[in-house]
């Protein structure tokens, strides 16, 4: 028996994951907008987590003595309701604070569901090719042939209007993007030598798919996840606005807008603030997404 | 009077890792009708120097020079529109990649006649006649038919001929050819080189040939400037350079030519050109030089005399041996 000794060489470079992360941060932090977006997003997450502590009122408590009260800087407003109240006397600020929970929840669920399903289908299509690939991709083509919001609306019409069903519908509408991206990435990775090498030494199919190939396809998927997080929030708010998403009295931002529509020319604040909340949240996530793309896309690296 | 004067040209780029000097105090004089070759490895800054002269560098570049003149006209102080009148007409350039250097969305004819319209103000019929003439001149068969072709319908060699036709369309006094044959098949390389030399003779223009191929230099040029890591390390007549190189880099380059090698193993120069982050303190060639001493590693050399080809070396080589070489170290 021969003993093989492997000479251990000391690698004095900073450790694997840490160096990857620090390089990532170096690229990411170069984009000022992305950093601002990130901090704003963290702030929203904190607000959502701490809603019970920081909200001055319960989101659905109706103060009959203060209907449509304007925000504090306008005559008639006061610090009891800093951003005013809606038509049935609920505190706008508290409803907005609690609303952030719904938006983040929607984003998380929609992204996880569509990401997991999309990546699985994309892996299968790209890895096995042939009939199963054609079959999956044709179905995705069909889903993409419909305007996304329209298809989501019709799906909700089938499932019945509720927040959960709206999320399912949006996840179904979004996952073709993940399938296409994963498939394209898998196809380009499959031609590379490291995959051939892994095959030659007899790596099993499942391990090849998930351990060898998938990690190398992550960059575009992460960027897409950020983009679809914001699209999910927008679409869910749109469905809520059309009455096909979260149902009143849920303090979801889109639903709040729908409820306030009739007061549009009388009480600007009930219309303005929920929209500002949606816009800034989505903008923050999109800024982050742009930064992620710059940091992860090797094609754009200088 | 020289046609082109370049005195201490320096080009630096603003990069994510700070300022990077790509061309460091390069000087070059070109007489009318002369063929000069600029030699060096990739990354030695030979193209960048010429692009700087033409004003074609991106906005991240900073260009400084003591003198930059064409036909005694100062290119440093000239206005952008004045410069545009010179480049493309009196001073033209062809590039390394013929397949990507022509616009894929326009026909050969359109791209060829564009300069004729802008610089010479020819009318449609004149332009067409001249375009056919030019394509004939560069040896493209059926020129009339080719005018309506798109670049992707022609081969790389044909596209390079089109590029040459475009460059000489206004009878330039100076043609800069930036590795014109590198991207082409070996058989085509010789044809394109011959075409360039023929045109140079016929038109009486000056030719600057940028290349990394010493063989090309031997066949074409009269004078040679050798560049390394942005610096000019040696300038000589072709004959002298091949028989008696003065800089160790030139010597090493010549030794690595297959036809000059007399050992079984073809000698090569170990290592690569230093980049932005690994520039040596002393002589830039010292990490790869067979003769390097402590002095070489610590003190940047100054240029030697005119007879020694202005070699940028502490111990310029004469007849294959370094001069003034300290005795205690063995090469």
């Amino acid at each position: 028996m021969t003993e093989i000794t492997i000479e251990e060489r000391v690698d004095d470079r900073p450790g694997g994951l840490r160096s990857v992360l620090s390089e990532f941060w170096a690229y990411f932090s170069e984009n000022r907008g992305a950093v601002i977006g990130l901090f704003f997003f963290i702030a929203i997450v904190l607000i959502a987590i701490l809603a019970d502590v920081i909200a001055p009122h319960a989101p659905n408590h109706q103060y009959r003595d203060a209907l449509l009260q304007p925000p504090f800087w306008q005559p008639g407003g006061g610090f009891r309701f800093p951003l005013g109240t809606d038509a049935i006397g609920r505190d706008m600020l508290s409803r907005l604070i609690y609303g952030s929970r719904y938006s983040l929840f929607i984003g998380c669920i929609v992204v996880s569901v569509s990401l997991v399903v999309g990546v699985m289908l994309g892996l299968i299509a790209g890895f096995f090719r042939g009939k199963i690939d054609t079959f999956i991709m044709r179905i995705m083509d069909v889903v993409l042939a419909f305007p996304s919001l329209l298809l989501a609306l019709v799906l909700v019409a089938i499932l019945g209007p509720s927040l959960i069903n709206a999320m399912i519908a949006i996840a179904i509408v979004q996952q073709p993007h993940y399938v296409r991206l994963t498939r394209a990435a898998v196809l380009s990775e499959m031609t590379k030598d490291y995959v051939t090498a892994a095959r030659v030494i007899g790596v099993k199919t499942l391990r090849l798919m998930f351990i060898t190939i998938l990690p190398n396809c992550m960059a575009p998927l992460i960027v897409q996840a950020a983009l679809s997080f914001s699209t999910a929030i927008l679409d869910a708010a749109a469905l809520g606005f059309l009455g096909m998403g979260a149902q009143p009295p849920t303090p979801e931002w889109g639903t709040m807008l729908a409820e306030s529509r009739e007061f549009i020319l009388r009480a600007w604040w009930v219309v303005t603030f929920p929209g500002v909340a949606i816009l800034t949240t989505v903008l923050a996530i999109n800024l982050m997404g742009d930064g992620l793309r710059d940091a992860l896309d090797p094609k754009l690296k200088r | 009077m020289p046609l082109l004067e370049i005195e201490n040209l320096t080009v630096s780029f603003q990069t994510a890792g700070g300022q990077f000097t790509a061309v460091d105090k390069v000087s070059l004089h070109i007489e009318p009708g002369e063929i000069v070759s600029v030699v060096g490895e990739s990354g030695s800054g030979k193209s960048v120097a010429m692009l700087a002269l033409m004003g074609l560098l991106p906005w991240t570049a900073t260009v400084t020079a003591d003198r930059l003149a064409f036909n005694n006209q100062d290119l440093k102080t000239i206005s952008k529109s004045e410069l545009r009148k010179i480049i493309g007409s009196k001073m033209a350039m062809i590039f390394q990649e013929p397949m990507t250097s022509l616009n894929p969305c326009f026909t050969i004819g359109f791209q060829l006649t564009e300069t004729l319209k802008i610089h010479l103000g020819m009318n449609r019929a004149e332009r067409k006649k001249r375009a056919i003439e030019l394509l004939e001149l560069v040896g493209i068969p059926e020129p009339r038919k080719r005018l309506t072709a798109f670049p992707h319908q022609l081969s790389g060699g044909m596209n390079q001929r089109v590029m040459i036709a475009m460059a000489i369309s206004c009878n330039p006094e100076l043609l800069i050819a930036d590795e014109p044959t590198t991207a082409l098949d070996v058989t085509i390389q010789a044809q394109i080189l011959e075409l360039l030399l023929n045109l140079q003779k016929k038109q009486g223009m000056s030719l600057v040939l940028i290349t990394h191929d010493m063989g090309v230099v031997a066949e074409t040029a009269e004078r040679v400037a050798v560049q390394y890591a942005g610096q000019q390390v040696e300038k000589q007549q072709v004959k002298g350079l091949f028989s008696n190189p003065h800089h160790p880099y030139t010597q090493a380059l010549l030794n690595s030519l297959p036809e000059r090698s007399n050992s079984k193993i073809l000698p090569s120069i170990a290592g690569v050109v230093p980049g932005q982050f690994d520039k040596p303190k002393g002589c830039l060639f010292s990490p790869r030089c067979d003769y390097a001493t402590t002095k070489c590693h610590t003190i940047p050399p100054t240029a030697a005399s005119e007879e020694l080809g202005k070699a940028l070396c502490h111990y310029p080589i004469v007849d294959g041996k370094p001069t003034n070489y300290p005795e205690e170290v063995n090469p």
Binding site: P147, G254 | G88, C105
Partner: protein, 337 residues
């Protein structure tokens, strides 16, 4: 070129059948008895139920039902509205011009502003102008347009009183539709002030609907332009002594347009999705509003027909864009010549 078109058709045709399948299955996926849903009658007796079931073909095997459905479609029968009892295709055709007018105006606005904005941002890369244009574009891309519409109404209709709140034209004017496009019809009618009225009704919805395509086009133009500007042929163009206008406006733009055209084509689907919200906010009598109302009225055969027709239109426009793409890109135009 023919090979290219053939390939595109080879993908589009099966997709179209997939779309018909989705529309077909839609009715059968709805919770509840399809006969009750489609008949729109209350308190149906068992005998009447059986008659209706046979009449609508729900008693046949599902594949046969699909066959009948396709045959009906081939004859131009997209079903009959449960509520109005009019053919769905007829309702769609009456309302479609309104959506088309709005969409065309929005698209024109998006292209006319988005292209130059993207070009300017690319050529002024890294400057304050670039940052301003790109931040604005990203804000537009992040915009909940239903709220944006409400905001514009508050400001321009409420505070300033400049624009009307809803509809396509003031009730003072009436004329028979000729083209279905209010701007053209109002001119044809010769009634004084009709055109101005139609135009003032169109402005806010157009801005709202154009917002997202405008942002997408500006961003795409910038990135395409940046990529093209670093290409060798742009350097060649500059080496020829061409001025910046010719280099950017001709040599670079022509190449940058190729990816931008694709993105513009993809905006057609975005426009329809946007039309659903925009038309709802501005009470614009188009198919977006009609679809939403049909869903609320449980007029499922209208939803089914509308879904199919909209998808078909989107696919048709995308095919047309592919054709245009082939024409503008010589590398495709000459693939098989």
């Amino acid at each position: 070129m023919f090979l290219y078109l053939f390939k595109k058709l080879a993908v589009t045709i099966p997709t179209f059948f997939g779309v018909t399948l989705v529309a077909f299955i839609f009715i059968r996926l709805l919770p509840g008895d399809p006969v009750l849903l489609m008949a729109g009658e209350r308190g149906i007796s068992d005998e009447r139920h059986a008659v209706l079931m046979a009449e609508m073909g729900f008693d046949k095997p599902i594949l046969v039902q699909y066959g009948y459905y396709l045959a009906d479609l081939a004859h131009g029968d997209f079903g009959t509205s449960i509520i109005t009892k009019r053919p769905v295709l007829e309702e769609f055709a009456t309302l479609f011009p309104a959506t088309m007018e709005l969409s065309i105006c929005a698209m024109l606005l998006a292209i006319l502003l988005g292209l130059p904005a993207g070009m300017i941002a690319a050529t002024k890369r890294g400057t304050a102008i670039d940052h301003t244009v790109m931040t604005t574009a990203l804000a537009g891309y992040s915009m909940p347009i239903f709220w944006w519409g409400l905001l514009l109404i508050i400001f321009f209709s409420g505070t300033l009183g400049w624009t009307p709140v809803s509809g396509r034209i003031s009730l003072l004017y009436y004329f028979e539709p000729v083209t279905g496009f209010m701007l053209i019809d109002s001119l044809l009618s010769g009634q004084e002030g009709a055109f101005q009225s139609a135009l003032s009704h169109l402005i806010l919805p157009t801005i709202v609907l154009a917002t997202i395509p405008l942002a997408v086009i500006a961003r795409q133009t910038r990135s395409a332009m940046l990529e093209v500007l670093s290409e060798d042929y742009v350097r060649t163009a500059r080496a020829k002594g061409l001025g910046p206008q010719r280099v950017i406006g001709l040599h670079a733009l022509r190449n940058a347009m190729i990816p931008v055209i694709t993105v513009i084509g993809l905006q057609v689907g975005v426009l329809f999705a946007g039309a659903i919200l925009t038309e709802t906010i501005f009470s614009w009598p188009g198919i977006g509003k009609w679809m939403v109302e049909s869903i609320f009225r449980r007029d499922y055969s209208a939803v089914q027909g509308g879904l199919l027709l909209i998808a078909a239109i989107v696919m048709l426009v995308n095919l047309a864009v592919d054709l245009l793409y082939g024409i503008i890109n010589p590398q495709i135009r000459h693939t098989d010549s």
